[in-house]
Structures are given as C-alpha cells and as structure tokens.
C-alpha cells in the first residue's frame, strides 16, 4: 500500500512525538483551568497536577459495568479517545501536522463527530434516565453548534485559500489580526468552543446534577479505566480546541513546517512553542473567567446562544465577501 511505502522513520517519530506532547499537556491545561476557577472562587484549589493523579487513580481501579449494556458501551471509551487522538493529527504544532493534506479541516470536524456519536450511544446503552438525558441534550447542542463551527473555520479557509489546517495557519502567519472577518470568526469560534468544550454557560463540567448535566450525564455509568479514558478524551479535546483558537489568533510560522518543506530551526521553534504555551494558558484562563462570572443557561436558551454564534459566523462570511469585493 502506498501509504506504508511513504512512511519513513522520521515521519513516524515526528507523529508519535506530536501526539505524545498533546497527550502529556492535556491534563495540565485542565488543572490550570481549575486553578483559575478556584482563584475566582477565593479558594486555594487543587494542585495543577491533580488531573494526572485522578487519571492514574481511575486507571488502577476496578470497573463496574451495568447489566443492561452491550458491546457499544465497552467499545466507546477506546473509540472516543482514539478518534480524539486522530483529531490531534491534523492540528499543526511548531513543526506542522502529521496529516496536512487538503481537506484536513473536515477530518477534524469528522473525528469529533465520530466521538460524539459513540458517546451519545453509550449514554443510552445503560437504559437509565440520566444517560439518555445527557445524550439527548448533547445531540441538541452538538447539532446546533456544528454549522457555526464549520462556517467560522470556513472563513479562514476562504481567507487563505486552503482547507488544510497546516496551510491555513502557515498562510495566516504575518497577516494582520485586525481584519473584520477574522475577528468576527474568532468571536464566533469563542461562542461555539464553549459549547464544544462543555463549559458554562452551555454545560457545567463540575456537576452531576440532572438539571444541568450534559456531558457528565453520558459518563455517569462509567468507572475505572473507561472513565479515565473518557475524561482524558474531553481534556484532550479541550486542549485541541484552545490550541486551534490560539493558532488562528497568532499562527505559527509556516517556514518551519516539515510538510511544507520548511527547515527545523531550534531558535524559532523554541520561541514559538513558548509563545503558544503562554497564549493557550491565557485562553484557558479566559474561558475559566467566563465560566466563573456566568450562570448556566436554561437548555432552550442554549439554542439562542448558539444561534448568536452562528450568526456571527455568517456575518464574518458576509464581511469577507464584501471586503473581497464580492458585491
């Protein structure tokens, strides 16, 4: 097969490193967001390393499985984490992304979709009320968030003339942040990402209360390693999304992207990496702050909230069309 023919050790090593960094950093971001929230609540809060300890604890625990479940329930944790890892592959790091071809933007959206589909099914599988409640709401929110997510990413695709995330980032580098379509698209993404990450005001990640839960409702029947996998997957998704948002605000220099024929320059690599970490940490703090100063919306108000996100994305498209001289 031609894929295997092209696979060199270098690419393999790079991909493993790329995924490894994402996996390693995801719980840290979660710990950092919790720390910022604790700060706003005038608490000391757990250590930023606590998510690692939690995951480790879950991995060592025995697993309890409901008698009503089928193989879908057992396969879901691996599938959700696996497809989230696949989403990592198209997000460019300082050296570019392992998979950087045309249309990698839709790969990103699709792998999140795959994870969502199985998570929703698993929610229904135990045959209780809570899982179904979470799943039904997740379908509702996910469905309404999807067009806004794709349209705001599409604004960048239209601006740069590529549907490859690597090329989008490389082309955006050096262009002005203060173009109206770009700002609007980023604002829209912020709206949508809150829904995608399951944070207040759309979903509350800290509670299992049936009135408020969406994502946690689907995980209710999980325990042990499976729960660790699913929590890890949602932390990873959070990192991917914030990293993507940071890239769209302040893109990497495409000159160091391997897939675009760039050269590895340790100096720029290092400085860009540091800047990116600072920006992601800042965004994490930003979303934690939004979460701290808002209340959760009633479920049917979420539709209006997401419609605003979608509306801003459409506005971004329209302004892009006008500034490009479409009229």
């Amino acid at each position: 097969m031609f894929i295997i023919k092209e696979l060199s050790w270098q690419v393999f090593f790079f991909s493993v490193l790329h995924i490894g960094l994402f996996l390693l950093a995801a719980p840290l971001l979660q710990g950092w967001i919790k720390k910022v929230k604790a700060f706003w609540q005038m608490r000391k809060g757990p250590s930023v390393l606590q998510p690692y300890r939690d995951l480790g604890k879950f991995m060592r625990k025995e697993e309890v499985i409901s008698e009503h479940t089928s193989w879908v329930f057992q396969l879901t944790p691996a599938l959700v984490l696996g497809s989230t890892i696949l989403a990592c592959l198209v997000i460019p790091g300082p050296l570019g992304a392992p998979i950087s071809g045309f249309g990698s933007l839709f790969w990103l959206v699709a792998s999140f979709g795959l994870a969502r589909f199985f998570l929703v099914l698993a929610g229904f599988d135990a045959g209780g009320s809570f899982g179904g409640m979470g799943s039904s709401r997740e379908l509702f929110i996910g469905t309404l968030a999807e067009p806004g997510f794709i349209l705001s990413l599409l604004v960048f695709a239209l601006m740069t003339g590529s549907t490859s995330l690597t090329e989008i980032v490389a082309t955006l580098h050096g262009t002005s942040l203060f173009e109206i379509p770009r700002i609007l698209a980023i604002v829209s993404l912020i709206f949508i990402l809150i829904a995608e990450m399951g944070r207040i005001p759309v979903d509350n990640p800290d509670t299992h209360l049936e009135l408020t839960m969406v994502h946690e409702g689907m995980l209710l029947e999980y325990s042990g390693p499976s729960l660790a996998f699913l929590n890890f997957a949602s932390q990873l998704k959070q990192l991917i999304l914030l990293h993507l948002l940071a890239l769209l605000i302040m893109p990497f220099d495409g000159g160091s992207f391997l897939s675009l024929g760039g050269q590895m320059n340790l100096g720029t690599l290092f400085s860009q990496g540091i800047l990116q970490i600072v920006l992601v940490a800042f965004l994490g703090g930003f979303f934690a702050t939004i979460e701290s100063i808002n209340a959760k919306l009633r479920l049917f108000r979420v539709a209006n909230y997401l419609a605003v996100g979608l509306g801003v994305a459409v506005l971004a498209l329209l302004t892009l069309w006008i500034t490009k001289g479409g009229i």
Binding site: F2, V64, S70, G103, G113, G128, L139, L151, L154, L158
Partner: protein, 626 residues
C-alpha cells in the same frame, strides 16, 4: 405440494439473482467489445442496480419465507422480476418512447410491490399516494418527450441532443423544468417527496431497500442523461436551481427524519436527504462547468458517484435491518423496541456500520462522499464571482447542519431500537433471523469497507461515467489529474487504518482491569424500561427548536382531582405534520376539487344529455372542418 411450491419459489428467486448477475457480466462484456449501444454512465448505474438487486434479492429470499403459504410468492417474484427488468431497461434504452414505456412499467410494478400488504387500509393509502405522485411526475415527462418528438420527429436521444442547440432558450428552460419535476418526483426532491415516507414504510423491506437504494438513483441518472447530456449546454440558473433544491431537500428531509418514530419512515426521509445531497453535488458540478473549472466539475461529480454507491449500500443495509426488526418484533414503532443489540447481534452490528454511513461519519464511505462535496463546494465558491461566492459557503453551512442532524437522527434510530432495555414484550422476545437476512447486510458493509481500504478501485470505476461526461463536450478532466487525488486517497486509507490501530490498542489497555456487573445506577429506585428516554424524547429538543418547520403541535390534557395541585392523570399526544402537504399540495388539491365541482354541473347522468353532447360535438367538428 406445499414443499414443492416453496422450493420452486426459492429457486426462482435465486435464479433471478444469478440471472441478473450473469446478465450484468454479459452487458459489461458487450460494452467493452462495443456490442451494446450504451455508454459508461449507463454502465455505472447498471453496476449500482446489479449490486443493489443482488443484495436485496438475497435478503428477500430470507425475508419472504415468512409469507410462504399465506400469500402468493409467485406474484411477488414476478413483480420483482419485472421491476428489476424495467429499471435495467430504463438505463439501457436510448429511445424516448421505450423509455416512457419502461418508466411506466417501473412505476407500476414498484406500486404492486409496495401494495403487497394490501390488507391494511393504511398500506393501501400509502401505495395510492405513491401511485398518484409518480403519475403526476410522469405527465411532465410525457409532455417533455412528446415535445422533443414533435420538434425533431425522432425519439432517439442522440437526435434530441443534436437538435437541442437549435431550441430557443424559453423552450429549453421549459423542458428543463419538466424534467426536474418529472425526475424530481421519482427521486424524492422536496417538495415532490411526499410519497416516500408513505410508500417506503409499507413496502416489504427488500422492496424498500431496492426502491430507496436504486430506483431513486435511476431518476437522477435520467436527470443527468436528459439535462446534462441531451439538453446541454446547461444554463447557470439550472445549476443554481438544482443546488438550492438539493439543499432544501437535504435539510427538510433530515429534519423530518429526526422527528419520525417509524423505523422505516425515518429511513425514507433520510433518503430524501441523501437525494438532496446528490442533487446538490450535481448542481455544483453544473455551476463549475459553466464557469469552466474543469477540476471542480470532476471533484463534484466524483462526490456524486461516490455518494450514490455508498448511499445505496448503507441505506439498503438499514432497510434490511429495519426489516429484520419488524419481522422479529412485529412493530414499526421505535417506541416499542429497545435492547435489540443483545437479541439480534448480527443485525445490530451491520446496522451500526450502516448507520455510520448515514450519519456521514468516517471511517466508512458515507463520510468521504460528503468530504468530496464540501471540498468541491468550498473550492467553487473560492473561484466564482458575484452572489454565488456567498451562496456556496452558506450552502456548506446547510450541509454541516444536515450532517449534524443526520448524526442525531441515526443516534436516535439506533439507540431507540437497539440499546437500553426492551420497551415491550415483543422486543424482549426478539430472535435473530435466518442467515440470508444478515449475510446480505454483511455483504453490503463489506463493500463499503473495501472501498475505504482500496479507494483507487472505486475511483477507477467512477472514471467510467466521468469519461462519458467529459466526452460530451463538458470540461471534465480525468480523475488522476486532480490536485487533491493523492491527498484524498491518503486520507481515506489513513483514517481507517489509524483508527483501527489506535482504538484497538486503547481497547486492549482499557480491558486489563477486572470488571463487576451491577445494575444501572438510578438513585436507589428500582429501574424499569419506562424510565428510559423515549425515541420521541431523544430528539424532542430539536423538534421544539424547529417546531415551525415540522409543524409540531403537542396536545396535553391534564386531569386534576379535588386537590388542584395533584395531577391524577395526564394525556400527552405529539403530532408533527408535513409542511409541504400543507403549503404546496393542499391549494392544488383544493383547486382540483373546486374545478371538479364546477364540471359536475354538466354531468347530470341523464343519457339524453350525453346524446345531446355528442350531437353538439359532431356539429362543432363539422363546422370546424369546413
């Protein structure tokens, strides 16, 4: 005697299947040697037909066994055979008159198949709506064919194509509209789709699988044949109309699917959605052709052909799954199912694979068709100018919403039927069905898996119809010259392989720990099946948000006792209605009835009156001739 008949019928069905396959090989050989007068476009759709009929026939052999000794299987087999033959005929002929004849035969015999369960009045009604709608469509086709005949004096497509440039713009526009209405009705485009949700659920499942998988696509084949290859060169607004009709169909179809609780009605609406997506791809290809973007024409057409095959495969699989469910639980209502994955595991496995296709999820082929379509829409919007460059990105937004709704719909269908606890006695007693009924599904899924692992193979097949369209003076370029060709192949294969590898590894890691089986946590209260979310409840939030479009009207009656704060009983009824019927059809039927009422005045039923009419007619004719 009974045994002999049974064996005869089974052998008969089997021979039809194999006969079809042999016939197909002969056709293909004939085509290669130039022995048959048909081109690659026909070959591709014949390939779809033979694949679809092979799978459905195999399934039907198991499915129809239930009727042995109860209903006439010979009648079914005969209608099945004629239906298949007429579909093949529509694909092969290049002559307008024979086309109309075969088209009518196809409509008539599919009607006979749909009405196979004619004992129930609801089924007769469903079949009748199908019968009326398909004939309304055919009227437009007859008009178009006769008009072309009167202009050219020939029924041959090639003569029409040669003459088409000589037609005025008005005539070509009118013919185009006739074809859109005629073929759109058969394909199930909104607003001509209303027969699908009536006819598909009441037909026996192999028939639904064949009609939904193949027959609707034959209408699209004729659309390409007539509009693109005969009436062409296409006009810009034709492409835009198809684009918008496709987007509308996709959105309306999937929205109604998401609120449907009939296990087959949901799939029928999803066919409306997929036909919408295919029409959208066709419209994009036309627009790209007009602007001369030859690469994008190819991209959109590859998406079209790719998705036609995959829709056939996953929709057949799902209809077969629905058939298995109906046979084992004796209900079509998702609310009475649940927990079937443990009872009928093979059906469930194939159904989830088919469902991933319907929900446009990778790694299976259903997603990659959408990928091609989204990329072609995006790239076309980047290159066109004017209003289209903003319409196309918004259409991408619609497609995104549609695929998200498709995910929700499929999650509802699968979890309502297969997951959780059984909601009725029948569902609790469900048993796996004969091997033919699961093997046929498995075969369809194997083909999709094969296309994902070896996409070059399918793309090679898709090249056959592309060559025809490029030879017709269009600006279609060969597939392998597409700039995204390698990117596409690489993505398709690597997504599937990486997913299997990573998920496999993670699965092994997660299963090391020991497990304990306990009940589902329910706040300490004993759990019963009624505590689960109902199928209606799963998509209720969406139903409420889109209540205007799905005409959602809940009826709630509460009864309180002496104490007004304590509810004694509550009655809840949820109704959704078809908007198209209300907005589009009711005025027409009302007008029709009004005219009929007026005409009734001259129909008094007296024989003297009719004799007088004859006399008057005679006199008028005589005067006319002078």
């Amino acid at each position: 005697m009974v045994l002999g008949l049974e064996r005869g019928v089974r052998i008969g069905t089997m021979s039809i299947t194999f006969g079809g396959a042999v016939l197909g090989i002969l056709y293909l050989l004939g085509n290669i040697q130039g022995g048959f007068p048909f081109d690659g476009l026909t070959t591709y759709f014949l390939f779809l037909l033979l694949l679809g009929q092979g799978i459905s026939s195999l399934y039907g052999m198991g499915y129809m066994k239930k009727y042995e000794g109860k209903k006439s299987l010979t009648a079914f087999s005969l209608a099945w055979l004629v239906f298949l033959g007429s579909m093949a005929g529509v694909l092969i002929v290049n002559h307008g008159f024979y086309f109309l004849f075969l088209w009518e035969l196809m409509s008539l015999f599919s009607f006979f198949l749909v009405i196979y369960h004619h004992e129930e009045s609801a089924n007769r009604r469903g079949a009748f709506i199908y019968f009326v709608m398909t004939h309304v469509g055919t009227v437009f086709l007859i008009a178009a064919v006769l008009y072309l005949f009167s202009k050219t004096g020939s029924f041959l497509y090639s003569d029409w194509a040669a003459f088409a440039p000589a037609l005025t713009l008005g005539e070509r526009n009118l013919l185009f509209l006739c074809f859109v209405v005629g073929f759109g009705t058969k394909a199930g485009l909104v607003p001509f789709h209303i027969w699908l949700p009536y006819a598909h659920p009441v037909a026996p499942s192999p028939v639904s699988a064949l009609m939904s998988g193949v027959m609707v696509k034959i209408a699209l084949y004729m659309m390409i044949r007539m509009v693109w290859l005969t009436l062409g060169p296409v006009e810009l607004w034709w492409g835009i109309l198809l684009l918008l009709l496709g987007a509308l169909s996709a959105f309306v179809g999937i929205l109604y699917a998401s609120v449907e609780k009939d296990v087959k009605g949901l799939l029928a609406y999803s066919t409306v959605e997929n036909i919408g997506i295919l029409t959208l791809a066709l419209g994009t290809a036309m627009i790209a052709q007009l602007f001369g973007f030859s690469q994008l024409v190819t991209l959109a057409l590859v998406g079209f052909f790719w998705h036609s095959l995959h829709h056939l495969l996953f929709k057949s699989t799902l209809f077969m799954a629905a058939g298995n469910i109906i046979q084992t639980t004796n209900t079509r209502n998702i609310e009475d199912m649940g927990g079937l994955l443990k009872k009928i595991p093979k059906t469930g496995l194939w159904a989830i694979a088919g469902g991933m296709g319907l929900a446009a999820l990778p790694p299976l082929g259903g997603f990659w068709g959408e990928w091609l379509l989204l990329n072609s829409l995006w790239k076309t919007s980047l290159q066109v100018e004017g209003v289209l460059s903003i319409v196309l990105p918004l259409v991408i937004g619609v497609v995104a919403l549609v695929s998200a709704l498709a995910l929700a719909t499929m999650a509802k269908w699968f979890s309502g039927a297969f997951l959780g606890q059984p909601r009725s006695q029948n569902a609790a007693k469900a048993k796996e069905l004969p091997w033919m009924q699961t093997t046929a599904m498995g075969l369809a899924i194997c083909v999709t898996v094969l296309t994902v692992l070896w996409p070059q193979g399918l793309l090679g097949v898709i090249n056959i119809p592309l060559e025809v369209l490029s030879a017709s003076g269009g600006s279609v370029v060969p597939l392998s010259t597409l700039s995204i060709y390698t990117d596409f192949l690489r993505m398709v294969v690597s997504f599937a392989l990486l997913l299997v590898l990573i998920v496999g590894a993670l699965f092994l890691i997660s299963k090391r720990k020991q497990k304990r089986i306990e009940g589902t946590w329910n706040c300490g209260v004993p759990l019963n099946p009624r505590m689960q979310y109902t199928a209606l409840g799963i998509t209720m939030p969406l139903q409420i948000v889109f209540k205007k479009i799905v005409a959602f009207r809940p009826v709630i009656r509460k009864e309180v006792g002496k104490n007004p704060y304590i509810l004694e009983s509550m009655h809840y009824q949820s109704r959704t209605g078809e908007m198209a019927e209300k907005v589009f059809y009711r005025p027409f039927t009302r007008l029709f009835l009004w005219c009929a009422e007026r005409i009734r005045v001259i129909q008094a039923g007296s024989i003297h009156l009719y004799l007088a009419y004859i006399l008057i007619t005679l006199i008028v004719v005589l005067i006319w001739n002078i």
